[in-house]
């Protein structure tokens, strides 16, 4: 039985349908990524799945409970890491965990017993009595993650967990999420870092304008939608002629993207044009994402 499932989910604000018939199902223990450009409906989808807003149509089941009908009962076994920092600035690290644990009906004794392990998990042992202002961005995110674990949840929702973090902090976060997956937790995360999705997610769903565009394992999506090799050619004036040497090409500003199953002939030709700068790399999830959602800015 899926941990979380939604079918034909719909949500409308005014004249725009923000979620327009979405289906998804999470198996126990998997990491599922919800990808999409800004305004695709990711955060609204999370709010719907948590029962924080009522859908205009469709059904949701979370940990066996119908949502929004019994969302509160379901949330007893769910942890949430929201996009916007909501730590209590008036409290220390420990007090943040204690107070949050009480919201789950846990006694102070129970929460205090869990706090050392949570601090260890977040690598914040030395900051137990520190105020929130003294924490770095990465520490705050880790504390928010630890706070989401205070009730020992079965499912963890993360809304853009690494946005705004430096590479070190991001890698630390990924390591922690992998540890949780190793413990058998189910994770649903939204992100627009393709690298993050590719590294962490077993399966993902790319959505745009409230609809699912495609869903599957990252490797499978790349294989399905994109040729295995990409050659990016940065050309000023003289546009190189690559037709016939790759399956597909795309001019974006001054960069020519050539997608090829076998790039040898193309690379051989490029090597003769020594004035050209180019990059040969394997195709990745970002190529899939941009192909499916387009390159225009979403602001």
């Amino acid at each position: 039985m899926p941990v979380l499932s939604a079918s034909n989910l719909r949500k409308r604000y005014g004249s725009s349908e923000v979620v327009a018939g979405l289906d998804l199902a999470l198996a126990p223990g998997e990491c599922f990524g919800l990808l999409g450009p800004n305004g695709a409906g990711k955060t609204t989808t999370l709010r719907l799945l948590l029962g924080l807003t009522r859908p205009d149509g469709g059904t949701i089941s979370l940990l066996g409970f119908p949502v929004p009908g019994n969302a509160r009962e379901a949330r007893l076994k769910v942890g949430v890491v929201p996009q916007v920092d909501s730590l209590d600035p008036d409290f220390t690290v420990t007090e943040n965990l204690l107070v949050y644990g009480r919201y789950f009906g846990l006694s102070d004794h129970e929460v205090r017993a869990r706090i050392p392990a949570l601090l260890e998990f977040a690598e914040l042992e030395s900051k137990a009595d520190a105020g929130i202002e003294s924490l770095s961005g990465g520490m705050k995110r880790r504390l928010t993650l630890a706070r989401a674990l205070v009730n020992d949840p079965d499912v963890i929702f993360l809304d853009e967990p690494t946005t705004g973090l430096d590479p070190q902090a991001r890698h630390m976060m990924w390591q922690r999420l992998r540890r949780l997956l190793g413990e058998g937790k189910t994770i649903l995360l939204t992100t627009h870092f393709m690298e993050e999705a590719e590294r962490l997610c077993d399966r993902l769903l790319i959505m745009d304008k409230g609809r699912a565009i495609t869903t599957g394992a990252p490797r499978d999506l790349i294989a399905e939608h994109i040729e295995p090799h990409v050659v990016e050619i940065y050309s000023g004036e003289g546009r190189p002629d690559c037709a016939g040497l790759c399956q597909r090409q795309e001019q974006v500003g001054e960069t020519l993207f050539c997608y090829a199953a076998d790039p040898h002939a193309l690379l051989a030709q490029l090597q003769q044009q020594c004035e050209l700068r180019y990059l040969h790399r394997p195709s990745n999830l970002e190529d899939v994402f941009l192909k499916l959602t387009g390159r225009e800015l979403r602001e």
Partner: protein, 262 residues
Amino acid sequence: MTRLTDYRLPSLSWRFIPVWRRNFLVWRKLAIPSILGNLADPAFYMLGLGYGLGSLLPHVAGVPYMTFLAAGTLCYSTMNSATFESLYSAFSRMHVQKTWDAMLNAPLELDDVMLGELAWATSKSVLSGLAILVIILALGLANSWLLLWTLPLLVLIGFCFTSLALVMNALSPNYDFFMYYFTLAITPMVLLCGVFYPVEQLPAFLQAVANWLPLTHAISLVRPLVQGEWPRHVLSHVAVLLAYGGAGFYLALVLVRRRLLK
């Protein structure tokens, strides 16, 4: 968009207690300046106006002016405390710090959060009222056991003005918006409802306005008790305060559901 679920009655549960305790823990960290504010501010009002004006008008409505003013200050201070807590502090938690969002991600409902805020701001306003009672006793302004009846009334007054302020909180786009409420509701009440002089001194049309305002009814109940008498029309005054509080809380809840659960 109008949704019927926004208009359902409040669902009351003990889950409000962790919300109350969260606010209490914050308060405890700042308890000393907070209590000092509760005591010092109204104490200076009472001493300054009480002695200053009191020397010019030795008796008002048959009692020393200081005694007259004490009952008004008791109600006014309770109202003020409830109002500030439910406007600026609740708005910080709801809108700026996203404390409510964090609570809603846990297994709490918005009704639990609102009930927690109601209980908390009421508690805090009762504490302000208690500070005034301490001053009243210290100055020897009351010497009847009837004064004890003001304790449940402080809860009722706190509930009433917390609820009204929570309506404004639910409607507010930012902190500046609260000035409307102070200018158009709180200030008129302070000046028209009998804090500083008897309502009967006002022209008839202003008396009629004052009779619609909840602070008038609060003072009508509290002032006789401070002076050692049993108030008249107890039930109707209590009913007005309950009506303002009950309707206010329900309206605040509907508005905040529309704001946050959309």
